[in-house]
Symmetry: C2
DNA sequence: TATTTTAGCGAAATATATTCGGTAAAAAGA
DNA sequence: TCTTTTTACCGAATATATTTCGCTAAAATA
């Protein structure tokens, strides 16, 4: 499927506000709602969207500390990696994780209530995994989603 | 504002699918649409949502490489940090950034088309900033949003 | 106990989503 | 170049959903 300027506009608008209604999109694109609806349906069916996520005001929910945790495994092998990823899915507090090439094998974006919860997360929950070699944490002062991409290559 | 189990359910459902309609939410919570609507309005007005973001299928859009870039600045001072953040907003390719405490000052999640674009991003775009001390990149094999938080502390 | 607040409901009014037949312009094929 | 096909678009009609509101009952507060 080939994309044009209007398609890109839909993608960008939803990146910034995934809850925009079809009508609101149509107004922005300056096309009829029915036309916009067709485009959105097409983009969705063609799998251009990976997910629609609400990101919450974590501080308001009692998660006063966010950290980025670098994890190095003893063995960076398929089986170890798979079971680690599986473990990540069971742990409470993980907002997002990155599986990386290089020195650091995993980068975890974690939200915790307070320093004690953080200590417990690292010493009790995470270190519980057999193949952990090294863990280092950095407090996140601030983080922001930009989605500032250039789509010139995709447009016909 | 105090949250109960139903509110948490709304937050969680929208974390996983920000485009759920009010009616769909109401069905999940097993309450009337009008009731659900009131709750959602209340949560929104009380600023429990930071953003609603569509995340795109970047590979399909020609962004074949995603990297995590560690940036260390020469001076970690308010003015330098501010202007760096400002610069990040102008750069094309940044999906998300983290401002950190510790050795690494910034962590950038970047999407590029190919190795050449990456080189250009780092050598031309990023290094252009006067106060860059050090840059290191790691390819992202995989990354995923989990939002797997425990809200026991918030519930009454 | 009396009073206020709150969460809930359903019905009505409003607005939106969705489908569909038709049109015109662009793309593809002869 | 002239057809034919495809595509993006529209507006009208219908189906759904959102939103408001008055009312009730239960919970919280005084």
């Amino acid at each position: 499927m080939r994309l044009d300027q209007k398609d890109i506009q839909i993608l960008k608008l939803l990146q910034n506000n995934a809850r925009l209604s079809n009508k609101e999109l149509a107004v922005e694109l300056d096309i009829a709602p029915s036309t916009c609806h067709e485009r959105l349906k097409k983009l969705t069916k063609s799998n251009f969207f990976k997910a629609f996520n609400a990101s919450l005001n974590l501080e308001k929910l009692g998660f006063n500390i966010e950290v980025l945790i670098r994890v190095r495994l003893k063995k960076h092998e398929r089986e170890v990696v798979n079971s680690f990823i599986q473990k990540l899915h069971t742990l409470k507090g993980i907002v997002r994780f990155y599986h990386l090439a290089g020195e650091t094998n995993f980068m975890l974006h974690v939200a915790v209530e307070n320093p004690n919860t953080l200590r417990s997360f690292i010493l009790d929950e995470l270190s519980d995994f057999k193949y952990i070699d090294n863990i280092e944490s950095s407090i996140i002062y601030h983080n922001k989603c930009l989605h500032n991409l250039s789509y010139t290559n995709v447009i016909e």
